[in-house]
Symmetry: D2
Subunit: 338 residues, 4 copies
């Protein structure tokens, strides 16, 4: 059994991490660190856990975590994971951070988006935790910054065409649509049921912090990113628009994607004509991809569950790699349908 | 034109009142009083009003209201309408209060539910604003306390059977289901999209403040009231369970309801076998009623739009009565479907 | 009073037309033609109309319609409106067709999308019923083909930039998102609640029949159109991506849109930074537009209610023009919020 | 490994059975029988299964099933499971039927609800598959009729009070609310997205076929059952109203329920004051129960996932018992939240 601690459990990515860690056949959950809930059974604040056998929440203490755990998954608010990661690494625990705090290895790049990092030397060793891009480095990593939910879906949609040289220019328009859980668990006017259901809008048009992350992961590509909020709980659909080089055919584009993802356990390229639907990956670590070409326009559509492949599931996938387990261990769910 | 002021415009009942007052062919909207928004176009805080020609919001001043308006609709938080109503009445304005502050004419009854009223003498002259119950008194009233949304639907469902003496005992079980707008516009954990959609629960079981109001309007009947929160924006379905006196038949019960509501412009008793659906009254001041009998059990189902017949529409219906207008003026909408 | 007949009343655009015609202060509804429902009160098949005073449905007979009506609104399935329109025009009735049967005046263009038209001579006189584009011609028209819902939103989003010469090239990427009512009232696997809610997908990517209609209305522009189905009832959000000519600034683009739409009663350009939301136009004939620029990319977002400005409301707006009424008569609703 | 066949895979209970059987650590899925899909990969009709390693669907053949499987789960339409069950039993396979075909062991009782059974002798040996009621008999059963979704939730809510003699009279009012997946996968007008979302209604009031099943499982109690359709995918909330014998206190009622369910792995009685929510058991085999007392009225609220504890999960729980496995094997999920 691999010994894994969870730090931060009361937000959505924390609760989802707990669901996956609890159900993992090769993990032992050593700690549930939640300062604000220490000593109080988690079900008191998270009713889905009534009747589930869980450790009592404790205050976060890196030494105590290090005494029992080999891995720690951090599900903390952006900005607060820097101290936790640094202290755990110093204590010898390998760290997977779900926050945005360790997604750029370059401190300057990080600072341009999020402001100065407190531990630039720590940051330099972070590995971007997208196994389909960085599998070998993740295996050896001490610190993994798990990608954002939008970047996961966009990078998986764009990367094969980019790497295979199919594209003219280096720009992508990423029109992305997300369920509301991506906005977190804190109630706001914008996520009030009656202001969210039966409506649809974009937000932070061409001005969202995930765009530089996508660009970093896509070799500096210009990313025109427009996120939209959709009245559903989970799921991201990214519709990306790319320009093909002259002469690249639909068949060739399809072949490139199918070859790129044939070995991947979690990514399926759908047959021609089929459209991916977020519903079909709900609750799973899977990504479905659809491909459409008209003239020189390549439209790629990718769907993920933002809380699984876009967050907690990707972290488990990375721990599996780091721990030498089968990559799909504890992640072989089929979607909750309907 | 009747001159009407709206006091409080930024909550849901306020916005809905504004929608109905703005569209009323015989009303002139004299004031839009919203202290926190004075001098700021309402569309800035209520985007549905972009492009709509409205008065600029002003601070509430009873003398200024009285100078131009004959009627004032109060859409203020519970507790804060007492001062406004008293000052407007003193200035000669007839008042319709959408809050809970003037639903009981008996100060003691009020105090048992909501605590002491600041103006018991004012309270004594309030009329309970359910036209199907109190039409004549509403016509003459200076102060109308508009019923709560749940009481409106339950009282309309129970009253004909009660008045006609069909019932054994004096108890009703009222299992009511409401859309989320009934919870107001302030974001809370319980109305966060992701904690509301795709779920269902009761709340305040057998302990909700609308039960005594129902009991008051139903001649002291014992009301066992269990409200539920349903993942939809608008609408209340009340499923009420009543015991028929021995020998009362389904046909007799139906006849009583049909006769009671034949003259009512807003209440329809559906043909036998049909079930009312909240969707069919959305955006309207209507109430649909379904009747079902098995042995001695009478199950009545009533649906309303909680923000219209359960709040703003009922207020407009009362103003129509008070102003000598046709009762349906400005309220002859058909439902927004789908 | 203008005398208007409704032909076809049981689909969503028919029901919505009925809602608007019934509530119009200057219209008399002369006929409700619905062959399959003739002689049966409409409420039997459309429960929202319980309690509403409506004409009894009759079989469609152009002579009888012509005897009493000056205008006919056709809410018939695509393909079936051709006979109805031809016969009504021959009988002297001015026709507004909500179906796709009269959106192209050029029979060849029509045939390429929908197959041969049965009455090419009739088709030649059709006017494309988008008042913001064709107001003068609509006033004089005998036959108006009301635009599709997607084209309405996309053309309103693109046209000012195109007409003002702001654009480089002649291509638009239109990533559009629609509520489910756009798919009609016939149940299908794809619109089953449990296969629609809590999910999101595109359909007919780069291959939808509304693309040639958009292109026609936009002077031959290349339209890359990807529609998506969103789990909500009503509303279209079109996010369109356009390339600005070198040197065109965000301020200049904004000025062009504001000037173009300043005189329009139903179109509002939102202040900089604000995002339009379908919720804010629900139930109304309004269109809200948001503008965003980054480098040479202009992202325009427009929202409409697909059943109102995208169908029945637009028809009423056209009848108002044809009948010499104020353009906003019977259409001055504010949104149903929430 | 226990060898289990699934017969019927394309409806919701079939797909859910497949999800649970596929993820069960001690089951081998021997056959996927789906006549209409034989030879076609299941993902073609059930897109959630893209990328999941499943057996190819085959035509149902009891001899072939018996050659490899010890257990068969039937997820067939009501009425069609009778032949399948009889043939499988004759071939030596132990059968769990999710349809309504084997819920009554008494052929006369069955016939009164569903018409004559084709194999009354087979029916006589069926065991009602609610482990909390019939654990010992299920262990030894050859044929288990899995309870309906509504009966599961109502029986779990009522049974402890009934068995402990807390009740006056022998009647229960069961006001139940279900998500739409309970209506099955065939599109109908009543489950069309736009006729289901943003609305709420009862159906088959006091006239639903699950009432006699509840009555049978509750020792002949009179069950007044009113089901409602709620705009969500999964979940049943049953609000049941019971009369307490004179002198029975809230504390006593609570003690009875807590003792009854303390040994049950899937049933949790929530602390006083807490309301169960369907969301908190979504995707799990769990049942949460809330208890409320006022005077002599006991209101019990129970929530389940209709497709898991109300169908496929209960079948797996029964197979676990029949196979001598831990009762929670393959069922220890925590809810998908949000």
């Amino acid at each position: 059994m691999r010994r894994v601690a969870l730090v931060g459990a009361t937000g959505y990515t924390g609760a989802e991490s707990l669901r996956l860690l609890h159900g993992h056949p090769a993990f032992e959950l050593t700690h549930l660190c939640a300062d604000s809930k220490a000593g109080v059974p988690l079900a008191d604040s998270l009713a889905p856990f009534w009747g589930v056998d869980l450790p009592m929440p404790v205050r976060f203490d890196p030494a105590e975590v290090a005494a029992k755990a080999d891995f720690a998954v951090l599900a903390l608010p952006h900005g607060t994971a820097q101290d936790a990661a640094a202290s755990l690494l110093a204590a010898g625990v390998r760290v997977l951070d779900l926050s945005a705090d360790h997604r750029f290895a370059d401190p300057d790049a990080f600072a341009r988006v999020y402001g100065p990092h407190k531990y630039p030397e720590v940051l330099r060793e972070t590995v971007y935790g997208l196994p389909e891009l960085n599998r070998a480095q993740i295996r050896e990593a001490r610190l993994v910054g798990c990608p954002g939910c939008y970047p996961t879906s966009v990078v998986l949609a764009v990367n094969p065409a980019l790497r295979a040289g199919l594209l003219a220019g280096a720009e992508v328009i990423a029109d992305c649509k997300s369920g509301v859980s991506g906005a977190g668990r804190t109630p706001t006017a914008g996520t009030h049921f009656t202001e969210t259901s039966e409506g649809l809008h974009a937000y932070k048009t061409l001005d969202h912090r995930h765009a530089p992350e996508m660009s970093m992961a896509l070799g500096g590509m210009a990313v025109r990113f427009v996120p939209h909020l959709v009245p559903m709980n989970r799921g991201i659909l990214s519709t990306v628009y790319l320009r093909l080089r002259a002469g690249v055919t639909a068949a060739e584009a399809r072949r490139v994607y199918e070859e790129a993802y044939a070995p991947e356990p979690f990514v399926s390229v759908l047959p021609a004509g089929l459209h991916p639907d977020t519903r079909n990956v709900r609750g799973t670590n899977r990504c479905h991809i659809g491909l459409f070409v008209s003239d020189d326009l390549l439209c790629v559509q990718s769907v993920i569950d933002n809380l699984v492949k876009g967050a907690a599931g990707q972290a488990v996938q990375c721990v599996n790699l780091m721990a030498g387990l089968p990559e799909t261990a504890g992640l072989d769910h089929t979607a909750l349908f309907p």
